[in-house]
């Protein structure tokens, strides 16, 4: 089996990378894929908490890299009956304790056994970012519809391209449909025209996300949650399904007013 490694990154902190990693990973596993999520936010680990696996950590990523334990000893199996594993970050070390090539090597191993390796990237553009992105073949960028997050996303897209990671996909997280309707928040089109990349998902601001995080049960488990539904659809698109983006509607959540697929060929290269 040759799976692929996807990094989930953002530049700006707190926009929802870890939330997206946990939920897309869980949703991909629910769809029958073998999935491993890797927390590379060394020193500030979160993914284990959001997935409710904090108490089961024995070994971590740095232990694997340093050869203290075997790869599968650091893989924590999710409580459910599907194939989902977590490799947690070390909490007592820093981002410089691993090298990009080491993470790449580890992911190559994982790709042999898993359909998807998802990497939760730390915020920023320093060593942690370099580690996380050098291991991946594809990138998903998370932003919120705010100018500062978008500016950082723009920077990140440029950096990814110059390191050979082309055509990243964009998740716009924490959209408040009422605000968009009032003209107080950028909509999908605004963000798309600023960043010129393909949007793979629109996630509404949904307090259930926070409730779920506190309980350690990713929000995709909550069938009634609008954010959960959005992450399920993102996972389906990652998995190759052709699902149009939905308009996020105020009040009664999601109405299936289809918007026509977003331009995928926006960044074609004439010779490739």
């Amino acid at each position: 089996m040759t799976g692929k490694t996807i990094v989930i990154t953002s530049g700006k902190g707190g926009v929802g990378k870890t939330t997206a990693t946990a939920n897309i990973g869980t949703a991909l596993a629910m769809r029958g894929n073998r999935v491993v999520v890797v927390d590379t936010d060394i020193g500030l680990r979160n993914l284990d908490v959001i997935m409710g696996l904090e108490n089961r950590i024995v070994y971590d990523l740095v232990n694997v890299i340093e050869g203290v334990c075997k790869l599968n000893q650091a893989m924590i199996s999710d409580k459910h009956d599907y194939e989902l594993y977590l490799i947690p970050a070390a909490q007592t070390r820093d981002k410089n304790s691993i090298e990009p090539e080491q993470l790449r090597e580890m992911c190559v191993e994982l790709e042999k056994e898993f359909d998807y390796v998802l990497i939760d990237c730390p915020a920023g553009i320093e060593q942690g970012f370099k580690n996380a992105t050098s291991a991946a073949q594809e990138a998903i960028i998370v932003t919120t519809p705010e100018v500062s997050a978008i500016r950082d996303a723009d920077r990140i897209i440029g950096l990814l391209e110059s390191s050979g990671l082309h055509n990243p996909k964009l998740i716009i997280n924490r959209i408040a449909p009422e605000m968009v309707k009032r003209g107080d928040m950028m909509d999908q089109k605004d963000v798309e025209s600023l960043l010129a990349v393909e949007v793979i998902g629109l996630v509404p601001a949904d307090e259930q996300t926070v409730v779920a995080a506190n309980r350690g049960i990713p929000v995709v488990h909550n069938a009634k949650s609008s954010a959960g539904g959005a992450f399920m659809r993102i996972a389906a698109r990652v998995d190759g399904e052709d699902i149009p983006l939905m308009d996020l509607e105020p009040k009664n959540g999601l109405l299936s007013r289809f918007k026509g697929m977003v331009g995928m060929s926006g960044r074609a290269y004439s010779h490739a």
Binding site: R151, D154, R155, G158, E161, L194, Y269, H271
Partner: protein, 294 residues
């Protein structure tokens, strides 16, 4: 001579040409370029080179890759990229060599020379063997149509005073969005077929044309040419420069720039300050536009 690889290296006098198969994907080209350079690393010494990308449309990050491949594998420094749109009319020639200034007139190639792939090589050409891979040849040898990439003015071992060939149309085309944190310096014109985002910087000795929204900082005529202009489909950028004259959008224009219904603009130098006017052609007469003096 049957060529099967995407990159051929042909040395002619002091010029070295990398002939690149137009249909080869960039990855392949990059890999072979890397291979060629490292195999022949003994041939290169320190010096500056310029790279002609022909008509191949390269994204910025690809230019960066070409630059880094050449620099890490040869010790050469890539000082600029240029392309010659007019050099590639028909698809049946393979390489256009720039006439290099040669010590002895015998060697001078007066005009760009058109070569068929199968033709024998002139006495003053050295063909470095292409990679030895014995893969199936491309559809036909002559279909290796002419995307050429000439490295000219190579200050290789024997040549200390290579004079650069200047091409009138030294435009650099950039097809992808120029993003925050990215910078570019180019000795000719720069055309960006996308947006230039805030936090990006471009310096060009010639004109800068943005077929998109110019939101970053650009400097046209960077080596002093006050005749250089900046043209953009949308010009919300509040600050840019032509030659030594900085321009800052007046408060009124800054407010207006939020409504993008403004149309293409040209910025130029007039009586020592930057003016911006609706675009009416590169060489139209522009009188007083909106002064960008803050």
């Amino acid at each position: 001579m049957l060529e099967t690889s995407a990159v051929q290296v042909i040395a002619r006098g002091t010029d070295v040409a990398f002939v690149i198969d137009e249909s080869a994907p960039f990855d392949v080209v990059a890999a072979e370029l890397r291979e060629h350079l490292s195999k022949k690393s003994g041939l290169w010494s320190k010096g500056d080179i310029t790279v002609n990308v022909g008509q191949r449309m390269l994204a910025r990050d690809e230019l960066a890759q070409v630059k880094s491949i050449i620099e890490t594998h040869s010790g050469l420094t890539v000082t600029r990229f240029w392309c010659s749109p007019e050099s590639l009319g028909s698809g049946d020639f393979q390489i256009e060599a720039k006439a290099a200034p040669m010590p002895e007139p015998v060697h001078t190639v007066a005009k760009p020379e058109v070569k068929q792939a199968e033709e024998p090589i002139a006495h003053n050409q050295i063909v470095l063997p292409a990679s030895s891979s014995e893969e199936a040849p491309l559809t036909s040898a002559s279909s290796i149509t002419a995307i050429e990439s000439i490295i000219e003015g190579l200050k290789a071992r024997h040549n200390k005073n290579g004079v650069r060939n200047r091409n009138i149309t030294e435009a650099l085309f950039i097809k992808s969005t120029f993003r925050s944190g990215e910078t570019l310096e180019h000795a000719g014109d720069v055309v960006v077929l996308a947006d230039v985002n805030p936090g990006a910087e471009i310096r060009a000795d010639g004109d800068i044309v943005v077929l998109g929204s110019l939101k970053g900082w650009v400097h046209a005529g960077a080596s002093g040419d006050t005749k250089a202009v900046i043209i953009a489909l949308e010009l919300p950028s509040a600050r840019f420069q032509i030659a030594k004259y900085p321009g800052t959008a007046p408060a009124s224009a800054r407010r207006k720039s939020n409504t993008s219904a403004s149309g293409p603009k040209i910025a130029y130098v007039r009586s020592r300050s930057i003016h911006v006017a609706p675009y009416a052609g590169r060489f139209a007469r522009y009188n007083k536009g909106v002064p960008y003096d803050g």
